[in-house]
């Protein structure tokens, strides 16, 4: 019988029916512009974007699961995890001579870092943004000490596998498409997935419905860590292990999740949308490079577009009246007992 109103407001845009459409629409738009400017290689542009997008998609899927777990949940350690997993996987692969072991080691190290976050979040009630920040700091320390005098080189077999493009479709993109389908199935068809979505909508209600909330949240962070670790392992083989391999992926992973249509306040995950948003980001980078714009313009464009989509789609009524009512969903979740429609 508390009268507190939870802080975050529910946001149901953009485009309630097909929230993933925005990312793909923006990506298509950028692609057309590229085509118009260069006048050639349209198919190849998509093919190359598809060979870069999967990395962002994997880490984005992990971030999406975390964000789906409800208000306040975010994993800001993904960047550091990617860098660390890159080194660990390359070291493990060259020590054992097996790329598979390397990938598993990368995933494992992601899980370990996420375990630190999860213990802090669940055991010490540290807010997730702080817990994952701290875990990320620890991870980047380990990265730095590993980077010193690091001698192993990425597995050449894995590298050429990542570069395989039968009929212009990157093998990795296909593999990650399968992974995306698995995530969709995880969310729709498993008890864990349903529980996660329930927890994201209302943690209290989920707890009262008999869902083991702590276990669900903990395993979600572990999953995100695993996916970030996988990203690191693949990225290190594709590019090269380096201490700042993952830095760029933190903000982008959050941004693609949101542009992809996943509810930032939790409870609705849109895995397909991550693809659209990732392709949009990759193609945008390409366009900016093609036109020769500076990074300043690139950032202005990125930020401007995020804000534009956000404010255009909005969350509430179109009327900005004096006593603006909350949207329906907002009423249902954020109000309180101070709600006056029901006695």
């Amino acid at each position: 019988m508390n009268i507190r109103v939870t802080g975050s407001r529910r946001w149901s845009g953009p485009w309630n029916g097909a929230p993933w459409i925005w990312g793909f629409a923006a990506a298509a738009l950028v692609w057309l512009v590229i085509l118009a400017i260069s006048g050639q290689g349209g198919g190849q542009t998509v093919s190359l974007a598809l060979s870069l997008a999967p990395y962002l998609v994997i880490v984005g899927l992990g971030q999406m699961l975390v964000i789906t777990a409800g208000p306040g949940n975010i994993d800001v350690s993904v960047g550091s995890v990617i860098s660390l997993a890159g080194f660990v996987s390359v070291a493990a692969a060259s020590a054992t001579g097996s790329a598979a072991v390397g990938i598993l080691a990368g995933i494992g190290v992601g899980v370990l870092v996420a375990a630190v976050s999860a213990v802090a979040i669940l055991g010490l009630s540290v807010p997730p943004i702080i817990a994952t920040l701290a875990a990320g700091l620890v991870a980047s320390s380990i990265t730095l000490s590993m980077a010193n005098g690091f001698t192993a080189v990425p597995d050449p077999g894995l590298r050429s596998a990542l570069n395989l493009r039968p009929a212009g479709v990157p093998l990795l993109a296909l593999a990650i498409a399968v992974l995306t389908v698995l995530v969709v199935a995880l969310l729709r068809r498993t008890v864990y997935g349903r529980s996660l979505i329930a927890v994201g909508q209302s943690r209290r209600a989920a707890e009262r419905a008999g869902i083991p909330v702590a276990r669900i949240i903990g395993s979600t962070y572990l999953l995100s860590g695993a996916l970030a670790g996988l990203t690191g392992a693949l990225l290190a083989a594709y590019i090269a292990p380096s201490a700042d391999l993952g830095t760029r992926y933190l903000l982008d992973s959050v941004a693609v999740v949101v542009i992809g249509g996943t509810l930032i306040s939790g409870g609705r995950a849109v895995p397909v949308g991550v693809w659209g948003a990732a392709l949009f980001f990759i193609l945008l980078d390409g366009l900016v490079n093609l036109v020769g714009w500076s990074t300043a313009a690139q950032n202005l464009l990125k930020g401007g577009l995020v804000l534009f989509v956000l404010f255009l789609a909005g969350g509430g009524d179109r009327t900005a009246s004096l006593f603006r009512r909350r949207s329906r969903t907002a009423t249902a979740t954020t109000t309180s007992t101070g709600d006056d429609t029901d006695g």
Binding site: I34, Q40, L48, L52, L144, A147, T151, N163, I239, N289
Partner: protein
């Protein structure tokens, strides 16, 4: 640098005994604004090795390395320099996170009587001594051999560095001038590679589908990533400017890329040169305020020698000794030819 805490014994005791003037051996501190890439790590490792040796040799009493955590954060570095000043070093070497942000704190250090040597970047601090790279040389080495290698004709991509920075402007200027000398060469795209392989890889990949056949990519130490981008796109690797680290050199060697590619980057050994400069300053020697030090150019003929001594993430560094340093100072003073330090042999 597994032993970053280079100092010996209790800091307090040393700080008291180490201050200059009393005939004690000098205390050298190094503040590094960023430790997140291989170049900086090599730079620190070289310094620590040299400083350790200098301590054994009795040239210095104590040294200390402080790296600002996080992403090239000038604010963190300012805080760290301030706390370093509390420990009263005799000389302070700085690889700055930003060419301007440190100016006030450097002034503060000078006022406190600390000899300040800034390296790797030009900085507007009148009281500090500066060791810097020749960006004109860098850009020249990056473009000339490569253009010669592709026979003076064909199409190239220019991968720019940190667009907008003073060095980048200087380098782009030089590149353009050189390109003007090769009318047969067409620039088909200009991308922003940030002098970073991973960034360049993505940037080049982004434009590859929209450009015709590429013969060379003029960059600044991002060739490994550029080569990967071509591999991904299933195109032959053109002439590129490799990083000077073991990974890029081995790749270059192992894939038998023989098309005019070179490796060229600034010299992480500058930290060692800065150490010798600080010692000479403390010793009262006359050293010019501004000096330009040679950059590291690895051509195909020297490639294998370097590749055999470098670890993948270790960058080629000139092995500055006190002797070589003094020769270079002379060369700068007299305007003579810069010293060419020896290329390490596989034995070392």
């Amino acid at each position: 640098a597994g032993c970053g805490s280079g100092g010996s014994g209790s800091a307090t005791a040393d700080a008291a005994g180490g201050s200059a003037g009393g005939g004690g051996k000098p205390f050298i501190a190094l503040s590094n604004g960023f430790i997140g890439n291989g170049w900086r790590q090599t730079m620190i490792a070289k310094f620590e090795a040299a400083a350790e040796q200098a301590k054994t040799d009795g040239l210095i009493g104590k040294y200390k390395v402080v790296n600002a955590p996080g992403e090239n954060s000038a604010t963190e570095q300012v805080a760290q320099i301030k706390s370093l000043l509390l420990q009263k070093p005799d000389a302070l070497l700085i690889d700055p996170a930003s060419p301007t942000a440190l100016q006030p704190v450097i002034q503060q250090a000078c006022t406190a009587g600390v000899k300040v040597v800034v390296f790797d970047s030009a900085i507007d601090a009148p009281c500090a001594h500066v060791l810097q790279n020749s960006f004109v040389d860098w850009a020249t080495y990056a473009a000339k051999p490569l253009l010669e290698g592709i026979g003076g004709k064909g199409s190239v991509i220019v991968s720019r560095g940190v667009v907008g920075s003073q060095p980048e402007a200087e380098m782009l200027d030089t590149t353009k001038k050189i390109l003007a000398d090769y009318p047969g060469v067409k620039t088909v795209a200009t991308v922003t590679g940030m002098c970073d392989g991973a960034t360049a890889q993505k940037a080049v990949l982004g434009v590859l589908s929209s450009v015709p056949k590429v013969d060379g990519v003029i960059g600044c130490g991002d060739g490994y990533g550029v080569a990967q981008a071509f591999a991904t796109a299933g195109k032959p690797v053109p002439a590129v400017d490799f990083e000077t680290n073991g990974r890029a050199l081995s790749y270059w060697r192992d894939n038998k890329i023989d098309n005019g590619s070179v490796a060229v980057m600034s010299d992480p050994g500058q930290s060692v040169a800065a150490l010798w400069e600080a010692l000479d300053l403390l010793g009262g020697k006359d050293v010019p305020k501004q000096m330009t030090f040679p950059i590291v150019l690895i051509e195909q003929k020297d490639r294998d020698a370097w590749a055999s001594v470098l670890k993948p993430d270790e960058y080629a560094a000139w092995p500055w000794t006190q002797e070589l340093f003094r020769q270079q100072v002379e060369a700068v003073k007299t305007g003579g030819k810069p010293v060419q330090p020896p290329i390490p042999s596989a034995v070392g």
